[in-house]
């Protein structure tokens, strides 16, 4: 039986005995079952169990890290820390070494752990698959996607006396619906949390089915032709948009991850969108962005990867840039305080990242957003392959996917061609007119959950139609 405490004591004892000035150990162990789904069938199912032990030490003024996944390898990896440290030049910058334990982090167990999920009962996954399949197939469509359950324990300790640990469960469900004869007719919903029992599975599947039917009916009545919002127009075009939570989750994920917008290190370097902008208006008054690792809507995490307690942090409040995030080393360097956003020891040089992001919800609904949209408006299900094109401008590109519809005079007209966008995320959030309740949503970009609403934004910039029609030999 794997014992995290025993591993931690062994590593801390051994490194102290050999003269390390500081050591931290992160131990995780868990089990999971994951099923991809294609045409309603289990596809590429994986399952397994494993352990990960990550050690970072400061030895003779140098920081070194090692990791392994077995008890047998620990001694070799500890030896390698000391061998390497002996050969390195001392760091020019003074390294952060805590002198006392960090405060104890805790969360109600019910927020983190679900006993039913921890059983990893594969038959439950199959039952849910069959239920979704029934709904999607009843209208002649097929169900693709993924469903998973996992259970694990994360324990952290350092040589200054900090010890933190928690057990957690996690679950994910992605529902994609397709017309088997024309995969461009598609729809999508996703959700993540600590338990499959939290998820409104029937509602999600119904929503997917409904969107598929809208597309199929329209195309059947229009010779299979989608609406082309770029018809007769040249160059980039701006359209009002109703974007569902998955769109904003993806844009937020790339803004935070690839563009490093809230990383304290990038901020002070001057390379972040927020550099020089804290305290100023950067988005609309109706936009508040938080990092809330304790929210029951996300997969909670009570402490960061250097064992520091996490708490809710407002990043943008009513459109005003409020905070960027720090670990203890960055905080010391820049005269700030840790916000509880440290990365694992071997990645600490990248700075600090918020991993529980959300945009605060409002009281509108997608139905209302459709109703108020008199001008041509695009209702977008999700965005595909989003990438930052200019980090300091917050510019991102990608394409619409799994259902994009033209809305006009308060009605859904029909499905449009898919489009490529190239837009500034903060600028898009400066033009938001309606906000729905926020929902836990998995980003297709990072596979991580974000708690985000659907929002209606005006004048979103698109640059071209992403043609999905049959290609002729003579084209070109």
């Amino acid at each position: 039986m794997f014992n995290s405490q025993e591993v931690i004591e062994r590593v801390l004892g051994e490194t102290k005995k050999r003269g390390a000035a500081f050591t931290e150990v992160l131990v995780s162990n868990g089990r999971y079952s994951f099923k991809r789904i294609t045409d309603g069938e289990a596809y590429q199912p994986t399952a397994g169990d494993g352990v990960s032990i990550a050690v970072s030490s400061i030895i003779n003024g140098k920081r070194v890290s090692a990791s392994c996944d077995s008890l047998a390898a620990i001694q070799t990896e500890i030896d390698s820390l000391f061998t390497k440290a002996r050969l390195l030049p001392a760091d020019r910058e003074e390294l952060f070494i805590p002198t006392e334990p960090f405060p104890k982090a805790s969360l109600p167990a019910g927020l983190l752990y679900d006993a039913k999920t921890a059983e990893l009962d594969d038959t439950l996954l199959i039952k849910i698959m069959q239920r979704v399949n029934e709904i999607v197939e009843s209208a002649g469509f097929v169900f693709d996607g993924a469903i998973s359950q996992g259970v694990g324990e994360l324990a952290f300790a350092n040589s200054a006396g900090t010890f933190q640990s928690y057990k957690s469960t996690n679950a994910e469900l992605s529902i994609f619906g397709f017309d088997p004869k024309d995969r461009s007719i598609s729809a999508y919903r996703t959700v993540a949390g600590r338990s499959l029992g939290q998820f409104p599975i029937g509602e999600l599947a119904e929503d997917v089915r409904k969107k598929l039917i809208i597309q199929k009916k329209y195309l059947a009545g229009h010779g299979g032709k989608r609406i082309d919002p770029f018809a007769g127009k040249q160059g980039p075009q701006k359209f009002d948009v109703i974007m569902e939570p998955s769109c904003w989750a993806g844009l937020l994920a790339i803004f935070s991850g690839q563009a490093q917008a809230w990383n304290g290190k990038t901020y002070h370097d001057g390379a972040s969108f927020f550099s020089g902008k804290l305290g100023t208006r950067v988005m609309g008054e109706n936009i508040t962005i938080v990092d809330d690792p304790l929210s029951p809507l996300c997969i909670p995490q009570p402490f960061d990867y250097e064992g520091y307690p996490k708490k809710k942090l407002i990043l943008v409040e009513n459109g005003i840039a409020k905070n960027v995030v720090y670990d203890n080393a960055l905080a010391k360097k820049y005269g700030a305080v840790s916000t509880g956003h440290a990365l694992p020891g071997s990645m600490r040089n990248f700075g600090a990242l918020p991993l529980h992001l959300g945009i605060e919800g409002g009281d509108s609904t997608v139905e209302e957003m459709i109703k108020v949209s008199k001008n041509p408006t695009l209702w977008v299900t999700t965005l595909h392959y989003i990438r930052s094109t200019h980090n300091q401008d917050g510019r991102e590109t990608g394409t619409t996917l799994h259902g994009v519809f033209l809305v006009k005079d308060g009605e859904v007209v029909g499905p449009t061609e898919h489009l490529r966008f190239d837009e500034s995320f903060p600028e898009a959030l400066s033009r938001v007119t309606h906000i729905s309740a926020a929902l836990p949503t998995l980003s297709m970009e990072t596979d991580m959950p974000y708690v985000v609403p659907a929002m209606r934004s005006e004048q979103f910039r698109f640059v071209s139609v992403a043609d999905q029609s049959l290609v002729n030999q003579s084209d070109g």
Binding site: E41, P45, G48, I126, G270, A271, D393, A466, D475
Partner: protein, 509 residues
């Protein structure tokens, strides 16, 4: 030790067969090892290493796949792992409408043994960490000296070695050991701290470029020699005009061409995508819409020839046999612009043949790879190359029209799920202009280009340059599958000329 691992693998396969598996394979990773060193602004910011080991068993039982893996590499774990894989398949079988079918492997491949050790001249793990740091500090110093307005300097090297042992119920046994290295340097420049348009240049690529070689590959990258060049370029681009907007001819240099023409595009040549099995994650392929025309469909101009080759010297996609026991081979994907083939697995070949209506694929491509013992094998690119043309690169620079934009290292990449509509951005752009009667190449900031791979881009390929300017590099972070698997893929292209492509600035409003 080989015999011990073989006995271990035989016990796994024996138990799976006894339990009723109609196919099974086991992959054992006795020890995967990595080491990485990073320097930033003159400080050693990352010295890390790690080891990993374990085994995973995949079974076909009652017509469904089952899988289980553990990091407990202990014979005593075999019954638990195999039984869980079988139980996993038994549950999954409830969902199957049709049993999974595999294309049989060729008779002469059954029972084969593969022993492979990737070649290297200098063992990267024999280079002490202080020597690696010394190299990176020298590159850091070169960047400091070359660019007055450089405010962030990054450099890193990584080494990896992993051994993979495979046994399948077709009696294919493989014991393969791979050594890989990677490195890059990058410099970021700004006019002042609040400058909202920083400029970054890197070498050999924006992310660490990986090679299946030893330390000699790191020396060949000449990090120190190139560090000064890229720092000077990043500084120079601060004062360059924005890239103009319009339809232009373009030259893609090997690094961005590797990513566009032989990586992002060739994902669309993966058989699982074309067979519509990947829509819920990686996406599909425009080729599935014209599957019946395989062998005669015009994908690009006559100048376009693309191959997949898992036998390329030094490529990170080189091996002896893949993770379902199929030997390494070369597959012609596009020949003189005509779409010829796909990367197929034993499973996807069956599905695709049914859709095509004839046995077009008579064997798998040897392209199934898993990211580790705990991962399910997927169709992955091996080494993908765009074959060179006849035109020397210098002649290409002369012959392209004034107004042509030349794209350097990639920094932004996005492509639609059909692998058609794309937008790529580069760190560096140069425009061919005429000054005082002379053609010169001037720097342009924030260049991007966009278009449609099939309707226009490859059909507008004028020519790749000749073989002397082709460059083999590796992408180390290709993501596919769920849970996400990160794989290294090799790519080799020369600078290539395309006509009439939409170019723009990443800051265009």
């Amino acid at each position: 030790m080989n015999d011990d691992w073989r006995a271990f693998a035989e016990e796994v396969i024996g138990r799976a067969k006894k339990a009723g598996a109609t196919y099974a394979d086991v992959r054992i990773h006795p020890e995967d090892r990595f080491e990485e060193v990073g320097v930033e602004d003159g400080n050693v910011v990352n010295v890390g290493s790690g080891v990993s080991s374990g085994f995973g068993c995949r079974v076909l039982y009652s017509g469904a796949w089952g899988f289980y893996a553990t990091d407990q590499l202990d014979k005593a774990e075999i019954p638990r792992v195999v039984d869980r894989a079988i139980a996993n398949a038994r549950v999954n079988a409830v969902t199957r409408k049709y049993p999974v079918e595999l294309l049989p492997i060729r008779d002469d491949e059954r029972g084969r043994e593969y022993i492979y050790v990737s070649p290297y001249k200098i063992d990267p793990f024999s280079i002490p960490v202080d020597e690696k740091v010394k190299l990176l500090l020298a590159a850091d110093k070169a960047m400091t000296e070359a660019g007055q307005r450089i405010f962030r300097r990054d450099s890193g090297v990584e080494s990896m070695r992993f051994r993979k042992i495979l046994l399948t119920t077709d009696d294919v046994f493989a014991d393969q050991t791979f050594t890989r290295v990677g490195a890059n340097v990058s410099a970021m420049a700004q006019r002042d701290p609040l400058d909202p348009d920083k400029q970054t240049c890197s070498h050999p690529s924006h992310f660490p470029s990986v090679m299946q070689k030893g330390w000699e590959a790191i020396l060949d990258f000449d990090l120190v020699g190139n560090a000064g060049r890229i720092a000077a370029e990043a500084d120079m681009f601060l004062d360059a005009p924005e890239t103009p907007s319009g339809i232009r001819d373009i030259i893609l240099m090997p690094e961005p061409n590797n990513l566009h023409s032989t990586h992002e595009t060739v994902h669309g040549f993966e058989g699982d995508r074309v067979d519509d099995k990947e829509w819920s994650l990686a996406g599909g392929s425009a080729l599935s819409l014209v599957l019946g025309e395989i062998g005669k469909f015009k994908f690009g101009s006559e100048a376009v020839n693309i191959i997949a080759d898992s036998l390329t010297d030094g490529g990170v996609g080189t091996f002896a046999c893949d993770d379902e026991g199929v030997p390494a081979k070369k597959t012609v994907l596009v020949e003189h612009g005509i779409w010829k083939s796909l990367l197929v697995s034993r499973e996807s070949a069956v599905g695709l043949n049914k859709k095509i209506g004839r046995p077009y694929f008579t064997e798998a491509s040897g392209a199934m790879r898993a990211a580790g013992y705990g991962a399910f094998p997927l169709i992955r690119m091996n080494n993908i190359s765009m074959l060179p043309g006849d035109m020397p690169y210098e002649e290409m620079l002369d012959r392209v029209p004034v107004g042509t934009i030349r794209f350097g290292n990639n920094k932004s990449w996005s492509i639609d799920p059909y692998r058609r509509d794309f937008q790529f951005g580069s760190e560096a752009g140069w425009e061919k202009v005429r000054r005082n009667g002379q053609a010169v190449w001037e720097p342009r900031r924030n260049p991007i280009y966009r278009g449609d791979n099939i309707k226009q881009f490859f059909r507008n390929c004028v020519t790749p340059a000749d073989k002397n300017s082709a460059m083999l590099l590796g992408v180390g972070n290709c993501g596919k599958g769920s849970p996400t698997q990160t794989m290294a893929t090799g790519h080799c292209t020369p600078p290539t000329w395309f006509k009439n492509i939409k170019v723009d600035s990443a800051r265009a409003k």
